[in-house]
Amino acid sequence: MNQGTLFRRLTLPGILVSLALLLSLLERMLPLDLLFPVPGLRLGLPNIVTLFALWALPLGTALAVVVVRCLLGAFFGGSLSALIFSLAGGLLALAVMAALLPFEGEKLSIAGVSVAGAAAHNLGQLFAARFVMGTWSVFAYLPFLLAGSLVTGLATGLAFSAMRPALSRVPALQPLLREKRNSTK
């Protein structure tokens, strides 16, 4: 493997996984539940990493980043049910954002993609909760989670769109971004 391949297939995904884990640790310290005590409502900072992965990396690598992040997150401080929650939310959010990202342009911005991803994440978590808890009554929290994903998705989406101009000038990312542009054309 030459250095470029090593960077895009191992180093960069590895950095992204650790960054996502760090962000999920960070958001656990944020007292968001003091304002909105809704089970499962999080700011979703790791979503910024998923957005970046979808933007700069092939879909398969982005998928690997999400799955490894969920596995390691459960391994370090979670349980089996935490793994089910984060996988269901993370994968559904990835799928929805991957489907919407090609439409980003004049009519849709990255913030909208992120809001849809946040809503999908919360919906996925609720379905996981339905199976773990064994009762549909958890869907009583759906309106709060949907309204909440509007705020959290907007926050993470705007954060990424603020960072993207600087990120797109990073020299090491140039070959990746060129490749991504060619593959979507």
Partner: protein, 140 residues
């Protein structure tokens, strides 16, 4: 000469205005706004679909991992703190005037405690302990 200057000035002004407009709207586009409006409508529909019932309930049902482990007859139970242990989970409920809330449980976020008193529409959910408290039946 003046033609060329005009030709150069016009697109620049348009670009500048566009950037200003985008900055003011955080770069949001029509699709974003439609998506967010749709999400709010969906939240409203989900709110309307939450089961409506009597405000008071006869029994509180505690489930852990989908299994009913305890039924508490709220009107028969004395007011105050009640500590139970089911399937290895120890939790304390406060019962007062046929209402119930989570008072103490071992979990990292304590969201179920912050939820406050349970009502017919909102069950108490403790995700880390896979515990749900639902209200059933009609109180007198």
């Amino acid at each position: 000469m003046s033609l060329r200057r005009d030709g150069a000035a016009r697109p620049n002004a348009a670009v500048e205005q566009d950037q200003k407009r985008r900055f003011r709207s955080f770069g949001l586009r029509i699709g974003d706004l439609l998506l967010m409006a749709g999400l709010l409508v969906a939240a409203g529909i989900a709110w309307g679909m939450r089961s409506n019932g009597a405000e008071t309930a006869a029994v509180a049902v505690v489930s852990i991992e989908g299994e009913r482990v305890r039924q508490i007859a709220l009107e028969a139970e004395s007011d105050g703190m009640h500590t139970f242990t089911d399937r290895g989970v120890t939790y304390t409920l406060e019962i007062s005037e046929s209402r119930v809330r989570m008072a103490q449980i071992d979990c990292p976020d304590h969201i179920c405690i912050k939820t406050g008193w349970a009502d017919r529409q909102t069950p108490i959910v403790c995700m880390p302990n896979r515990l749900v408290i639902e209200l059933e039946g009609e109180g007198s």
